[in-house]
């Protein structure tokens, strides 16, 4: 695998300088503590602050809220480097604001930006996005949580589930139905709900993987929120939610091939050192071929993802093609991760089944990426419709 550290068509010297800075940040501030956080079931707040300081939390956000106004490849750098810690839950929880805060930054009032967006980007507060409901996963248009206007307030009732950073979050960006009579995509708005709001209850969810991420089910019963906490125009939330999804899917693709690479690197190091039947594992053809198949899939997923981002940044394709290719990239990258995690555990043999190898952890993290941000099936359906199939 090539060492992605020099400037090229996708990455400028600034991208690579930040990559280098992050490489040591992850090595020193994250990787040594991953096991501890996985067992704890959440990240220390200190990590959010440190990440804010180094600029991780504000990569894509404008400078007036404390961000760096970086391009999407800067986010790619962040995701690739953070993934090197080998724990998706760490990346997911630390990055929960990257889906929670964009609507506030883009459509929120000055008050909301100042009170919530800026502290989150500094790493002083934790933000989460709450869209999914127990009644329906990827189908945003079917959501049932209501926010009914009552004087200067909204009264929120309903349930949200699978909320990343949900146990610790100080602020939730919640997709709600402000017009209970509207069906489908109409009548959906985004409302900001502070974590300490009365009537908001959190329940911790236990998961197959991503243990370092505190995932919650939220229930809102008569939660009163100031009317000024409405983000953007009433009833225009659906489009904002959809906008979020495309970049989220690309980031999931980046995370998937990066995790695949961690598996590959662990398996390669083991195969080159472990001896069986008179030679190292990597000298046995069956293992050599496995390693090459892993490298090839990682490379393919990465090239596809880079190409989609680059062409989108240069406005070379119509939107439907961008959406279709994004969906296909997510499937391609999570397939690569599925394959590499499986083969890595196989190459590691008994060691791969033991807690303590990174591949064992990543093997348990495959499913969340083939489901979260749009399931493989939804991705294929979306690609088919966008391609006119």
């Amino acid at each position: 695998m090539y060492e992605n550290s020099t400037a090229d068509r996708y990455f400028t010297e600034e991208h690579q300088a930040f990559r280098q800075s992050l490489r040591s940040f992850v090595e020193r501030e994250m990787t040594p503590y991953v096991e501890e956080w996985e067992n704890l079931g959440r990240l220390p707040r200190e990590l959010f602050r440190k990440a804010g300081e180094v600029g991780i939390q504000g990569v894509l956000f404008p400078e007036d809220v404390g961000g760096s106004n970086g391009d999407f490849f800067m986010q790619v750098v962040v995701t690739e480097e953070m993934s090197r810690c080998g724990a998706g839950g760490v990346c997911a929880s630390l990055g929960s604001h990257s889906i929670g805060i964009p609507p506030v930054v883009k459509y929120g009032s000055e008050e909301l930006r100042r009170t919530f967006a800026i502290p989150v980007i500094r790493g002083e507060k934790i933000a989460a996005l709450a869209v999914t409901e127990p009644g329906g996963g990827s189908d945003v248009a079917a959501l049932r949580t209501t926010a009914i206007r009552d004087g200067d307030e909204f009264v929120v009732n309903g349930e949200k589930t699978f909320i990343t950073s949900g146990m610790q979050a100080d602020v939730f960006t919640v997709a709600v139905r402000t017009d209970p009579d509207a069906r489908g995509a109409g009548g959906i708005s985004f409302l900001l709900v502070p974590g300490e709001t009365r009537g908001l209850q959190r329940h911790e969810l236990k998961k197959m993987g991503w243990w370092a991420s505190d995932t919650a089910q939220l229930s809102f019963s008569d939660c009163r929120v100031p009317a000024s906490y409405l983000i953007g125009e009433e009833g225009k939330g659906f489009k904002a939610a959809m906008m979020n999804f495309n970049s989220e899917r690309l980031i999931i693709a980046v995370m998937a091939y990066s995790m695949a690479q961690v598996c590959y690197e662990e398996a390669l190091a083991w195969a080159q050192q472990r001896r069986a039947f008179g030679s190292t594992l990597s000298e046995h053809q069956v293992i050599r071929h496995k390693l090459v198949d892993m490298a090839a899939r990682i490379d393919a997923a990465r090239c596809l993802t880079y190409d989609i981002i680059w062409r989108h940044m240069h406005s070379l394709d119509p939107l439907n093609l961008y959406v279709a290719r994004t969906s296909m990239a997510k499937v391609t990258a999570t397939d690569a991760m599925k394959f590499c995690a499986d083969e890595a555990v196989q190459i590691l043999g008994g060691m791969g089944f033991m807690r303590g190898t990174v591949s064992e952890r990543i093997y348990r993290e495959v499913k969340v990426l083939t489901i979260g941000g749009g399931t493989d099936e939804v991705m294929r359906n979306l690609a088919a419709s966008q391609l006119g199939i």
Partner: protein
């Protein structure tokens, strides 16, 4: 007070170094390069002096190939104010020897008139541990080497040095050359906003010849070899077994 910090572009400390097939040195082609870690500590210390209002400008300088400007950008992203690149070689494999570096640095010190030169105690590539000392001799300045603590007290620098058997604290007159050791501080990470700002900071490009210094090597590398591979260890089952193995090996 102005602080001058020389920084060297070296092979990244994480890279497994490979010896070139002809034994003339180590392979540096397409290998990840970074700032010498001791120099990073020197840059960090200089920035802290500035933040504590004990210095008002931090100037970083690198001497080597043109690509060393990446190293300077890193220092600027950490918080240095401006940078000077002295191109002294075209081939990444040509090392500039300590005396040549010290002579070029002296010329820069004459130009810039800093109150303090803060340098790494050595570079992790050749481990010469000579440049700072040579520079102080050429300048006729005081020196404090292997600093694990540094304080500026008026026109003096108080330097705590790591020596065999403990710590030694000395007071030297400024201007001075101070070389820094590992435990002086923990360098900050270059943050993204500061990396973006670093793009706009001034970086002057000069040449060794421009300073009248001949940077061609005086030393000839006779041979470079890989370290001997270590034999595999064994796991012993008990103290008795350990003692008997040690006896077998003639160690006790």
């Amino acid at each position: 007070m102005k602080v001058l910090v020389p920084v060297k572009r070296v092979i990244d400390y994480n890279v497994k170094v490979r010896v070139k097939a002809d034994g003339s040195g180590v392979d540096l082609a397409n290998v990840k390069m970074s700032m010498n870690p001791f120099d990073e500590i020197a840059v960090e210390e200089a920035i802290r002096l500035k933040e504590a209002d004990k210095a008002d400008e931090v100037v970083v300088v690198s001497i080597g190939v043109k690509q060393a400007q990446e190293t300077l950008r890193t220092a600027l992203a950490m918080g240095a104010d401006r940078a000077i690149l002295v191109v002294a070689a075209n081939d990444v494999h040509q090392d500039i020897e300590p005396l040549a570096v010290a002579k070029i640095l002296k010329a820069i010190v004459d130009e810039e008139q800093p109150g303090l030169v803060l340098a790494g105690k050595q570079a992790i590539d050749n481990d010469m541990n000579a440049t700072g000392q040579m520079l102080s001799a050429l300048l006729g300045w005081s020196q404090g080497t292997f600093a694990s603590e540094l304080d500026i007290d008026g026109d003096k620098a108080v330097v705590t040095r790591e020596v065999d058997g403990g710590l030694q604290t000395i007071k030297v007159n400024l201007p001075a050359v101070v070389t820094v050791d590992l435990r002086l501080n923990e360098p900050r990470y270059a943050s993204l906003p500061n990396i973006m700002k670093a793009k706009k900071k001034p970086l002057d490009e000069k040449t060794a010849a421009g300073y009248g210094v001949d940077s061609s090597p005086r030393l000839e590398v006779v041979k470079t070899t890989e370290p001997a591979t270590r034999a595999a260890g064994i796991i012993v089952g008990s103290v008795d077994e350990l003692v008997s193995k040690l006896k077998e090996a003639g160690a006790v």
